[in-house]
Amino acid sequence: MKSAVVLLPGLNRDRDMIAALTKISGTPPVTVWQTDTEIPDVDLITIPGGFSFGDYLRCGAIAARMPVMRAVAEQAAKGVMVIGVCNGFQILVEAGLLPGALMRNTSLKFVCRQVKLQIANANTMFTRRYQPGQIIRSPVAHHDGNYFADAETLRRLEGEGQVVFRYAEGTNPNGSINDIAGIINGQGNVLGLMPHPENLIEAAHGGSDGRALFESALGVAA
């Protein structure tokens, strides 16, 4: 399985993502820059976390209009897997590849801690190595992770199993509606999530709860 990492000015979790993909798939990902109009032939494209363009205007808003995102949309339409983590999730919703919006945390505080996530749908290409309803740990670090969608969109997300990760056991760090931490698109090949699974993949991280997400997507054995 080949993977790619999208690079944009202001992202700061790109090296974590590159390390995770390299360690789990055994092959370093290719990197693509914001001005690239084509993405090499890969199975998985990831958009890491950070503060692209300084969070100016709205988190992810400027990044979502960069040429590379048109290429990401083209690949996604062909069925290539896309994972956006944290700022990457914000970029995917701003680009219209995922529904809804990510707003300021209700606490108004930047949250940087570990939360518990429930696997709300284990029947996706990103979660098939987890058990349905399984509770995993994951770090979060964001100021704008408060997921919002209108009532109709929310009904569709819940009805179609597009809510993939939910904050569990009262650990919702941002006030997101229905405790939503991560969602997939209707085709099931684009995932966005606020938590950072790439930061919990080996013993040195204090656990490997995030590893199965990448193993699921990359099709590698546990």
Binding site: G100, M103, R104, N105, L108, F148, G175
Partner: protein, 80 residues
């Protein structure tokens, strides 16, 4: 040249934690009778276009495509 002001506000029903915090701060400062506060954004845009109708259409397209997130925000375009 045309000068325009674009106002972007949160839609009704969308929670505004920042507006809420401002509301509490104003009350705490002793401003009595402060009701709901909603925070928004203002953009002053200068256009070389001289046709008002064309300018307005362009400004609306800018709002739809970048300046506002129409999932959560409304916008108003005002040409000076």
């Amino acid at each position: 040249m045309i000068k325009a002001r674009i106002t972007v506000t949160l839609k009704n029903g969308v929670l505004d934690p920042q507006g809420k915090a401002i509301e509490h701060a104003l009350s705490g400062m002793g401003f009595d009778g402060v009701g709901q506060v909603r925070q928004g954004k203002v953009f002053d845009v200068e256009l070389s276009e001289s046709d008002k109708a064309k300018a307005e259409a362009d400004l609306k397209a800018m709002c739809d495509k970048l300046l506002a997130n129409t999932v959560i925000e409304n916008y108003a375009v005002e040409i000076a």
